[in-house]
């Protein structure tokens, strides 16, 4: 009978021990993760700020550099008292803990969800032809030259080798954020080149993700490293494109219904949380379908981008974005293994140079053949050449799936950094006041009606801007500030999109010709309402007597 209690005791301790041991291990893991996050947040913020202030370079580069510095291949490997190395290089394709890499994956989903939300399909359709050709030219040149450079340097065995395909895909995606910031600072956003770059970048985003979908699908099928026949390649491509097109179609068709249901939850916070849930669900489904998670996240964003909730969502997700995205870039920097890059530095430089030339030629050449002169073509090529988050995400996917090694990952980071540094230099030099459009061509983007109102003083223009924004809100439009320092607003409802800009004493409204009558009538009513305001001002007490009342007794002391 003694056996029984003994057995129970043995069993109980057998259960308890691993649990207690596991609990301690888990606690240790979590402590390490929290400390890692703390260091990452501070380092990325400092790195970003330093690069911005010292070199006027994008913060992203500072965040990447901070990651390289604190990562497992640099300071992170230095043992700390009582803790050991904070970022010890783990075995496996990703030299970081799965928990930390999981956070970076979540960040990449949020990033691409927001990128999808920001994709302006209306712009894509409006400036379709020239922008489409520019975007497609950039993609074809970048992908083929990127993949071919891998073959030339012996990094890949052939064009269809997964490593070559990944290097092609990494070189494909433009990150137009830096260009957009420069263009708006220089007030060149509305120029034909600016419009074409922004339109081309949309095509680039959409097609770039399709390229990624196909490449990831193929890479997953070719895990063993063997090359596939054309039959299976075609099947994978068809599946990837089919999933992509099907989800986009379903997303755009159902988006309005889904948002109607979400609006029943009332608060904007609830809507944002639900939308993020949809993005994560789509990301998971996309991965299960054999594609990358970011593809699903991008599709979720793109589907919701056509609804009137888009600006609310962008604003709500922005907080999460500003916290997670520096973590993402910092983690990407941490993955760079310097020792593995010794043999590929020359290849990295050539690959970067090819990436630059591919966009300048791929986007510039079609632009030059159509509406633009050489200067305009160069501006467009330079505007399209920075690579950023999507290149890094693709490189991360390649590294985590073992398709590319740490050396090629390092090369990708090198290319991203170099293109991001060089693009603003060329852009700023090329944008002077001369026209970039061929003399015999019409301006592109003329389907947009520009309504300009001039006022006697800037004060009145400012006052009217506030009134006009309120008037549109009263008509149930969403008003969203585009650039904090430029006074540019986007006003939208369903598929109507207007831009409202204050330029000194003038107010400019850009409206699609089809909807300009709505913009014009709302503007007219607001200007006429000034009359009521003037009448009420006349009924006010005279400023003199109001002034006397305000100051009465203020200086009356003896």
């Amino acid at each position: 009978m003694d056996h029984i209690p003994l057995s129970f005791a043995t069993l109980a301790s057998a259960i308890a021990e691993p649990a207690a041991g596991g609990g301690a291990e888990l606690g240790h893991l979590m402590t390490r993760l929290i400390l890692q996050l703390a260091v990452i947040l501070v380092a990325s913020r400092l790195g970003g700020g330093l690069f911005d202030r010292l070199f006027k370079w994008p913060r992203v580069l500072g965040e990447l550099a901070a990651g390289m510095l604190i990562g497992p291949f640099a300071l992170g490997a230095v043992p700390l008292p009582g803790l050991g190395p904070l970022f010890s290089a783990e075995s496996g394709p990703i030299p970081l803990s799965p928990e930390l890499y999981g956070l970076a994956t979540l960040a990449s989903i949020v990033l691409l969800f927001l990128s999808g939300l920001e994709t302006d399909l209306a712009t894509l359709l409006r400036y379709s032809f020239v922008s489409s050709i520019v975007g497609i030219g950039g993609i074809v040149f970048s992908f083929s030259l990127g993949a071919m450079s891998a073959v030339w340097f012996g990094v890949a065995d052939g064009f269809m080798d997964p490593r070559a395909l990944f290097l092609g895909a990494i070189s494909t995606a433009t990150s137009v954020g830096i260009t957009a910031r420069l263009l708006s600072e220089k007030r060149k956003m509305g120029t034909p080149e600016g419009v074409t770059i922004l339109g081309g970048a949309v095509i680039d985003d959409v097609l770039g993700i399709v390229v990624l979908a196909v490449v990831v699908g193929m890479a997953k099928a070719m895990r063993g490293g063997e090359q596939l026949d054309w039959g299976p390649i075609a099947a994978i491509a068809a599946k990837a494109i089919g999933f992509w097109a099907g989800c986009i179609f379903l997303g755009l068709t159902l988006a309005k219904r889904i948002t109607r249901v979400m609006k029943m939850f009332g608060s904007a916070e609830s809507i944002a949380v639900l939308s993020l849930g949809i993005a994560l669900l789509m990301a998971g489904l996309s991965e299960m379908a054999g594609l990358a998670m970011i593809i699903g996240a991008y599709i979720a964003g793109l589907s919701l981008s056509r609804t009137d909730l888009v600006n609310e969502l962008q604003e709500r997700i922005a907080g999460l974005y500003s916290f997670l995205v520096p973590v993402f870039f910092c983690v990407m920097g941490m993955l760079v293994d310097f020792s593995s890059m010794r043999g590929v530095v020359v290849f990295g430089l050539v690959y970067s140079l090819i990436a630059i030339l591919a966009k300048v030629l791929g986007c510039g050449l079609p632009a030059w053949l159509m509406d633009f002169n050489l200067k305009g073509a160069l501006r467009i090529g330079a505007g399209m050449l920075p690579r950023g988050e999507v290149a890094l995400i693709i490189a991360g996917v390649g590294l985590s799936t073992g398709v590319i090694g740490p050396d090629i990952f390092g090369v990708s980071i090198m290319m991203t950094i170099l293109t991001t540094i060089i693009a603003p230099v060329i852009l700023l030099k090329s944008f002077d006041d001369t026209s970039g459009v061929k003399a015999n061509r019409k301006q592109v983007g003329q389907e947009v009606e520009c309504i300009k109102l001039d006022f006697p003083t800037m004060d009145i223009a400012e006052f009217l801007m506030t009134r006009i924004r309120k008037a549109f809100r009263n008509e149930e439009f969403f008003v969203h500030r585009l650039h904090a320092d430029l006074g540019t607003y986007q006003i939208r409802k369903d598929d109507m999109v207007f831009t409202l800009i204050q330029d000194d004493r003038s107010i400019v409204m850009n409206a699609d010709k089809h909807y300009q009558h709505i913009a014009r009538l709302i503007l007219l009513e607001e200007i006429l309402s000034l009359q009521d305001l003037l009448d009420s001002v006349k009924q006010m007490k005279s400023p003199d007597s109001m002034g006397s009342e305000l100051l009465a007794g203020l200086f009356g002391g003896d």
Binding site: R473, N474, E475, E476, I518, L521, L524, E525, Q531
Partner: protein, 148 residues
């Protein structure tokens, strides 16, 4: 935008009797009163006249859009009137006005009020649509033409 809810057969008149701008406005207000859409006739009339004083709502090609905002209505109410001979409505192009669209909307509630006017004006900007409304034999025909 749901034009159907705001403009119904009982607020359409194909036979406007009045022959001056002020009379047309009153007649249109009366249509809305008879249809039970307006309770406070005086205040509705007042806001439309006040709006006309700032700038005439006589647009181009015979279209006029007298309107106003008052809290005496709960939602947007609208009426459409036709007078094929036309009357002088101080229009922008100086031509007599033949089709009148009146809206009264709540002053302190959000909604696509101006958008409604803009949408219907855009529909009537098409000469063929305008002609169909002008020669319509029944209110149903107007409703069909404007695809309400």
């Amino acid at each position: 935008m749901n034009l159907k809810k705001a403009l119904t057969k009982d607020t359409i008149s194909l036979d406007i009797k009045s022959s001056s701008k002020e009379e047309v406005i009153e007649e249109m207000i009366d249509i809305l009163v008879s249809a039970g859409k307006i309770k406070d006739r005086k205040s509705a009339l007042n806001v439309v006249i006040e709006r006309e004083k700032k700038m005439s709502t006589g647009m181009q090609n015979g279209i006029a859009i007298p309107h106003g905002k008052t809290d005496t209505v709960e939602t947007l109410v609208a009426a459409l009137g036709v007078k094929s001979e036309g009357i002088d409505f101080d229009s922008i192009d100086g031509k007599p006005s033949t089709i009148f669209i009146m809206t009264i909307s709540p002053a302190n509630r959000t909604g696509p009020h101006i958008q409604f006017l803009a949408e219907i004006s855009r529909l009537l900007n098409d000469p063929a649509t305008r002609q169909k409304v002008l020669t319509a034999q029944s209110k149903e025909e107007v409703v069909d033409t404007l695809q309400l």
